[in-house]
Symmetry: C2
Subunit: 497 residues, 2 copies
């Protein structure tokens, strides 16, 4: 008899259905909804979120969690119970009034930030960011107490369960000097500018190319779709994964790379363990793990010379183009061009982590109270000079560029670079275990790589932490070394992958 656990499992299955509904509504908002539908949609989302919160924090939950802990549970169920407790602790730690005030402040701040960014006016956004930061402090303190973590860790914990600042400091501490040393060598070593891709490329052809790439990668169209939104993302639910891209008639390559990226996310969702589908343990492990799956597909496999050589004739066929600009060698040059640049989302694989390390430094200082919002623009520019070697001419290209802080998402940035580190470590282990993978990728065959990911990553769900998972899957502790080795090989060696 495991009555307390069974009771909780039913409750979390209900919660999963509500959150799945929210996921579909979220996709619809970005991909389908006409503008005039926004206020009604906001009301729907607020009501469903309220119901989800009430379901999670219903009276007696803590007692049930305690009771279930003494019931006879298998390893998946034990892991599931721990995740239930974590979810409950996050939700129960913060008073409803504070949640509401934070949600309202973030909405207002985001709206002002859009205008402030367009006008390059940090002063306009500043009071809103101060308000969001103030409420974030209060939430972080409340959660830190409930979860037994530092305030910054308590914020990260929503995105990256179990990740400590000590781990991050270790990883980033290794990465920063290595990348700073690597960057000038890469810039020195890289060949001539790639040829530009002469367009226009009609959208129908781009869409056909994207769908063809998704089929190559193993995306299951019985359980998902490709649509269009302003910012590409992966949404929906595991049985019905909705990825999006955006098309620019002048540039097909950007859309194609974003399809590879989002398909990586989608393959993870489609591969999660079905038997735990409606429980926390059957859901994605965290944002870094998720990002690692998109980066394996986009960066490790998708931008490799072998795969791009395979892809070039398909591009020519679907878009009706020809010439050296569309050859594999030029696509590789385009896909691996390194620059000291200002905008994170446009940054290359080598400099991207430096952009993230800057944000990690600044947001830990903001949360610790060591940096005031008013000093953010200067600190940003100083950090960019030191880390990337360029300085923004304005705040639009500086501390106003990312939505995250203005929307209350402190503690999220590290996931991007953790994802890159995990991707490299997984990929290295996959190739070691299944040596045919590189040859297969050169033939457009993703099945051997996908099979390894399914068995070693996707089907594990959230049974263990990302750190434990990577150790079990690769036989060594989480380390930036495979990522650095990958960069050396691709940008300084004569890599075919």
């Amino acid at each position: 008899m495991r009555r307390a656990y069974a009771h909780l499992a039913r409750r979390f299955a209900k919660l999963a259905a509500i959150e799945d509904s929210l996921a579909v509504l979220g996709w619809d908002t970005a991909a389908m909804m006409p503008e005039g539908g926004a206020p009604a949609r906001a009301h729907q989302v607020a009501v469903l979120k309220g119901i989800a919160h009430a379901t999670l924090t219903a009276r007696g939950t803590e007692a049930l969690l305690d009771k279930a802990a003494s019931e006879a549970l298998g390893p998946w169920e034990k892991a599931n119970l721990a995740l239930m407790r974590r979810r409950w602790a996050h939700a129960a730690a913060v008073p409803a009034r504070l949640v509401e005030a934070f949600s309202k402040a973030c909405s207002e701040s985001e709206i002002v930030w859009r205008r402030a960014r367009a006008k390059d006016d940090f002063a306009m956004a500043r009071p809103h960011l101060e308000r969001v930061l103030d409420l974030t402090h209060r939430i972080a303190d409340a959660k830190a107490k409930g979860l037994g973590l530092s305030p910054y860790e308590a914020l990260m914990d929503s995105f990256e369960p179990g990740l400590t600042q000590a781990t991050l400091d270790r990883l980033f501490g290794q990465l920063e000097p290595a990348l700073k040393a690597l960057l000038p060598r890469v810039l020195e070593a890289q060949g001539p500018e790639p040829l530009p891709l002469p367009g226009p490329f009609p959208i129908a052809g781009q869409a056909a190319l994207g769908l063809r790439a998704m089929r190559l990668l193993g995306f299951d169209f019985e359980h998902g779709r490709l649509d269009v939104s302003a910012h590409p993302f992966c949404g929906g639910v595991p049985e019905d994964v909705r990825i999006t891209t955006r098309y620019d008639e002048a540039d097909f390559f950007r859309s194609l790379l974003s399809v590879l990226h989002e398909t990586g996310h989608a393959l993870y969702e489609q591969g999660l363990p079905k038997e735990w589908r409606d429980q926390p343990v059957g859901q994605a492990l965290g944002m870094a793990l998720h990002e690692s799956q998109s980066l394996i597909v986009e960066m490790q496999a998708g931008r490799s010379p072998a795969f791009l050589a395979f892809l070039a004739p398909l591009v020519a066929e679907e878009l009706g183009v020809s010439g050296p600009a569309f050859g594999g060698a030029n696509l590789v040059r385009l896909a691996t061009r390194v620059r000291r640049s200002l905008i994170r989302v446009d940054a290359d694989e080598v400099t991207y982590p430096l952009h993230v390390i800057l944000r990690y430094r600044l947001e830990t200082a903001l949360i610790a109270g060591a940096l005031a919002v008013k000093d953010l623009p200067q600190a940003w520019n100083d950090g960019m000079r030191e880390l990337v070697g360029v300085v923004p001419a304005n705040d639009r290209e500086g501390c106003l560029q990312d939505i995250h802080w203005y929307d209350g998402a402190f503690g999220y940035f590290p996931s991007y670079t953790l994802g890159a580190i995990l991707a490299a470590q997984f990929f290295q282990a996959a190739v070691a275990a299944v040596p045919v993978i590189p040859t297969a990728l050169g033939q457009g065959e993703f099945a051997p790589l996908l099979a390894w990911l399914r068995a070693n990553v996707h089907r594990r769900g959230a049974q263990v932490s990302a750190e434990a998972l990577v150790a079990q899957a690769t036989g060594r502790a989480l380390s930036p070394e495979p990522f650095l080795a990958h960069l050396e090989r691709r940008y300084l060696g004569s890599a075919t992958l």
Copy 2:
């Protein structure tokens, strides 16, 4: 102080948000979802429906309804309170176990019906229909007691609040002999067969034509969209109305007429009173009223000679076609061809009500216990012979053709013909009040008609019953006479409308 009412209003606003979410999910299921998403979607819908039911029947609701009745309320609030009580009474009358058994029986029956219809095998569907009917009896009895209505009225009441069998018997009693007398005269009087429309018609052109027609009609694209589904419908929410159509490359006209029809539904939704948006009184009045708004646009205005003459050059332009088959006169012949036929959904304006009267006869007999399911095929065929003058050669074209009963929707069929009656009565009154309407329609101008409908129908929401609304808007009691006069004029006279 109206504390009980205010409490209820907050509860019903929450309910509206849950039902709106369900409406968006329903649209997505039909228009977007890949097949593999179905089981997860079914779980989402079941959970949200359960939450909606619990919200509606929460403990203490009856006491709040009683208390609010003694508070000082305005006319809209009084009407709203009455609708709250009706919704609560429907939900509270039926025990949860019976609701679940019915829902399960309907799902199973629908699946078997699809196969039985394909195989023309009534015996296969029969036990499932018997089970659904048995549970329908129990639900009807429970609701009849709670609502003080006859069992059949209690079933109709979900679709057509307040409609009595006495009213239906009166209307259908007038309509039946009049249509039986009219039909041979119409068949005798109608001209030669229309010219067939030689295709194919590429879907892109058909979509452009449909969107152009929607703009003409006044559809607000800031608050809605057009998509594709297997069966055209109007879904979504008033701020974001989602209509669908389906395209057949061999036949653009069917899709175009369905777009007119669904746009009529959409204009009603877009015109509901915004200030009562999240309360029952601000929602659509009933299925017949809804259908009247689609039929005014499709039948009264859309299939009129004046509008089709205006439309013909637009068809030629958007589809790149020419010749007499695409002229206004031939489109009129196509849009108004009358036949004694077997399938309701394909029936013309003149014979359609006879199909509905047959179903009304049979379903009242089934609910009254005067007709057994095993005798349904014979009763159907006898009724078709008597009412329409043709007899199905098999049950697929007979009592297996419609999903309604097999899916548990008893009491719905009358709404179709009530809608046609209401449409004619509204349209007659609109033209009398705003004489420019016919001329305007001939110029593709829907604004004068839409303005009358907005003021006299849409903005009234559900403040009064359909019978009261039609009396107030047209100055006379609900009557089939305007509908019969419309048929005489269009099919026997020299109508331009």
